[in-house]
């Protein structure tokens, strides 16, 4: 079944405490290559049947209204993935 992936990230100017905690932990484990980390969310919406334009529009709309908080987050990606 096809899925629509929605990626949501904290806005760049907004503090991301989670990313901050991770970037602090990485070097302690020997992962020294990364200068910053930000943690966002990935949603996978399953569609029964074909992904029409209308359904994709629904997904975009849901991404902006329910799946993200526009005050602090950006929807960075909405795309269809075949299973």
């Amino acid at each position: 079944m096809p899925r629509i992936v929605v990626d949501v990230m904290p806005k760049p100017e907004i503090l991301d405490p989670q990313g901050k905690a991770i970037v602090g932990a990485l070097p302690r484990l020997g992962f020294t290559a990364f200068s910053s980390v930000r943690q966002g969310k990935r949603f996978e919406l399953t569609v029964d049947g074909e992904v029409t334009e209308e359904i994709l529009a629904q997904a975009r709309n849901a991404a902006e209204t329910l799946l993200s908080n526009p005050v602090i987050e950006d929807v960075v990606n909405v795309e269809v993935v075949e299973a």
Binding site: P17, S36, V71, I72
Partner: protein, 775 residues
């Protein structure tokens, strides 16, 4: 130095730096003072104070520090009364009074307690979770900066109508935010308030209280003394938080690139704050800081100018040393930023290494910004060039003060003349037993009187192991000393409807209720903190409400003999031209020599005698009953502070001498609410007969149950103590009536003249309301 973020920010930035030298040479440069919120007269004052035009950075500092929020320019003239109406007796236990981050009260045995209440109203409307979370974060930093270990928080809340579609958003977010932040700090939540009223629809009130304890020798003040001592900024990095409007600092814009966006809201990092707490306590323990200040509103502007002006009067700071989260910040923006989880401290050169060791242990970032001087000037440089050169007092303390016009609004008379009794809404007042039973059930399931456990179960009440009482008792009680059982009790109260009907007495009623709540727990009231939530001070009617509330509160503090030790004013709480009800939230702190003696609010032991203390008048105006019927008018219940004091003494003595096993004061919802709450507390009912009360006070059963006459409480007295207890009341001339007995068997609340109420049904009704609306 610990680098938790490796972002390279060392690259020299190319701003059009507006130096003091440049400002002197270019007196006619246009400055965006109006966009920054200054009035013409205020800007002129800045120019007079400096003897030249301010630099961009100076303008940033003055504009934030002279804002209503930081300067109290509209309320200062009135707030003075809190400092003036105090007796020596009231000052006896006050170790630190108004003017510092929070007041400090002596508890004896070398212990001291500090507490303060603050608002985070408008951020909590925009983004409820983060707004409420950072509200907790901010007030906790005030407590740390006094040298105390924070030990508990409270959260008085006021939201719009329970059934309005937007209320759920605010409710879910704010409660989760308070829990998310407070729980992560390991601070038990020991109380608060929840009121729904459509006047708060576009302007919810999210107030937060924190309390901390310390040994006397650990008290720290916000001052920078000792020439040559080092100034350090530590905690989170500085980002563009809270400086939305500051991008108008055109004189500072980038040469090459545009500054990146500034955050619309601040995001809290409770983990960073928890680490900051432990790290500060370790600094205090090692006596490693001379002065310390939290960073809240107005950020570095506030911290540097307050530290400097409270100390020897001088400081020099290099602003490029500030660690940044966003490298595009201009100097003015850095000065104004309200990034959370930061502190500023003054450290002697000898302690620098030890200070750094504590920072490294807790992996807290820090940077040395400069040092204390004796020049009386606050000098801030950018790569060595002077961009601020001011007398710090002019920034921190000598802001504008306004005597804003105020006047009793014309509508006040009409509102006060519109009594509930006999009004349209009063039609069909219940009197039959079945109707009275239905009325009681309706009352205790109404939005304001229903169980708040939907909220409180999202809060950790156990952490720390010192919570002796919390929801749903009248006051929160925390143990301070494990060996002696010494502890403190706290309650916060406000009634916007009473205060709307009569601001002077409404504010006094808030104090009286908080005082009564603390005394009911068995604690001796000692100190007051207040958060004055009002509309726009530029509206003479609102200004009158504010002036009256402050006058009422300060007068009442004198009579009750407890001083205001700190607080906060939140103005402009209105939607369009419609202000919220005036809402002075009053917190009272009391002391218990041994928290084992605290009095809970519920019945437990079968056969104990139930007494009603105080007399009942027909006072339904502004009551929950009239609110349920959609009426608001008339005059609030009478204030009798002498009676409150007498009642308090009875409750405190009774607790100390083991004469009562439970006590619950009467407030919103009157006797009906108090009886149901006392029964539901431990699921133990009672048989009640009110005939003696009706005969003595000349009221009917409905009035006896729903009137909100003040100065009353219900207590349960063990049989063996009855004579001693009634003798005490008689000796003090305080009205007391035996109204029934505790019934641990029946599972019901029986009130003569009211159809029997099953506790199961009452609990169901009481607890179903919030889940019904909020899931």
């Amino acid at each position: 130095m610990t680098e938790t973020s490796a972002g390279s920010i060392t690259e020299t930035k190319k701003f059009n730096i507006d130096t003091v030298e440049n400002a002197a040479k270019t007196p006619d440069t246009e400055l965006p003072w109006a966009e920054l919120g200054l009035k013409q007269n205020e800007f002129d004052e800045v120019v007079t104070v400096l003897g030249r035009r301010p630099t961009g950075a100076e303008l940033a500092m003055y504009s934030v520090m002279w804002s209503e929020h930081c300067s109290y320019k509209s309320s200062k003239n009135h707030l003075r009364q809190f400092g003036e109406k105090v007796t020596d007796e009231m000052k006896k236990d006050m170790l630190v009074g108004i003017g510092e981050n929070a007041g400090v009260t002596n508890l004896g045995d070398g212990w001291a307690v500090t507490f303060k209440i603050e608002s985070h109203n408008s951020p909590s409307f925009v983004e409820p979770y983060q707004g409420a979370a950072t509200g907790i974060g901010g007030i906790v930093r005030d407590i740390i900066s006094m040298g105390a270990r924070p030990v508990a928080v409270m959260d008085p809340l006021r939201f719009g109508a329970i059934d309005h579609p937007d209320t759920a958003r605010v409710m879910h977010g704010a409660v989760a935010g308070i829990g998310g932040y407070g729980n992560s700090l390991g601070l038990p939540n020991i109380g608060g308030e929840m009121v729904f009223d459509s006047v708060y629809q576009g302007n919810p009130l999210v107030n937060a209280l924190a309390v901390g304890v310390m040994r006397h020798e650990d008290i720290r003040l916000a001052n920078a003394s000792g020439k040559g001592n080092k100034v350090v900024l530590f905690g989170a990095r500085t980002g563009g938080d809270g400086i939305g409007g500051a991008s108008v600092l055109a004189s500072e814009s980038f040469d090459d690139t545009k500054p990146s966006k500034r955050p619309a809201v601040q995001v809290g990092d409770p983990f960073a704050e928890k680490v900051l707490i432990e790290c500060c306590l370790e600094l205090f323990k090692g006596s490693l800081v001379e002065g310390i200040q939290d960073l809240g509103a107005a950020g570095i502007s506030c911290a540097t100018s307050e530290l400097a002006s409270n100390g020897d009067g001088g400081m020099e700071v290099e602003l490029t040393s500030v660690l940044l989260r966003d490298p595009t910040l201009t100097p003015g923006e850095i000065l104004m930023s309200e990034s959370q989880e930061r502190m500023m401290a003054v450290v002697t050169p000898e302690n620098v290494a030890a200070f750094e060791a504590v920072m490294d242990k807790w992996a807290v970032e820090y940077s040395w910004l400069g040092e204390v001087t004796d020049t009386g000037r606050l000098i801030i440089t950018w790569e060595g060039e002077v961009i601020v050169d001011v007398d710090p007092r002019t920034v921190a303390h000598d802001g504008p003060v306004y005597d804003r016009p105020y006047a009793r609004p014309e509508w006040q008379d009409a509102v006060q003349a519109d009594a509930f009794t006999g009004s349209v809404q009063d039609a069909g007042r219940p009197s039959a037993p079945a109707d009275l039973a239905a009325a009681v059930t309706e009352l205790i399931s109404s939005p304001n009187m229903c169980s708040k456990s939907w909220i409180t179960k999202q809060y950790d009440r156990y952490v720390g192991g010192n919570t002796a009482m919390a929801f749903p008792d009248d006051a929160g009680v925390v143990r301070v000393d494990e060996e002696t059982g010494l502890g403190v009790a706290l309650a916060t109260d406000a009634n916007g409807r009473y205060t709307y009907l009569d601001p002077y007495h409404g504010a006094q009623l808030a104090l009286a209720e908080a005082y009564r709540n603390v005394a009911t727990s068995g604690a001796v009231p000692m100190a007051v903190s207040d958060c004055l939530n009002f509309g726009s001070p530029e509206d003479p009617a609102v200004m009158w409400q504010l002036a009256e509330a402050i006058r009422g509160l300060s007068d009442a503090c004198m009579v009750l003999g407890i001083p205001v030790t700190g607080g906060n004013v939140s103005l402009y709480n209105q939607t369009g031209t419609t202000p919220i009800h005036p809402s002075p939230v009053v917190a009272v702190l009391g002391k218990l020599d041994d928290v084992a003696r605290r009095t809970p609010s519920g019945w437990r032991e079968d056969g104990q005698a139930i007494y009603l203390l105080g007399t009942t008048a027909a006072e339904l105006d502004g009551s929950e009953w009239s609110n349920m019927r959609g009426h608001l008018g008339g005059l609030p219940p009478k204030v009798d502070l002498a009676a409150e004091r007498a009642l308090g003494e009875i409750l405190i003595n009774a607790s100390r001498d083991g004469m009562v096993d439970s006590a619950h004061d009467l407030s919103e919802g009157g006797l009906a609410a108090a009886l149901v709450e006392s029964a539901l507390r431990y699921g133990v009912g009672a048989r009640i007969a009110l005939q003696d009360v009706l005969d003595r006070d000349g009221v009917d059963l409905f009035t006896a149950l729903f009137s909100e006459t003040q100065g009353r409480a219900v207590v349960a007295v063990p049989r063996s103590e009855e004579i001693r207890f009634t003798d005490m009341c008689t000796a003090r001339g305080f009205a007391h009536t035996r109204i029934g007995v505790v019934d641990a068997e029946g599972g019901t609340l029986e009130i003569n003249g009211v159809e029997t109420l099953s506790l199961e049904a009452l609990r169901e009704a009481h607890e179903a309301t919030l889940p019904k609306y909020f899931g």
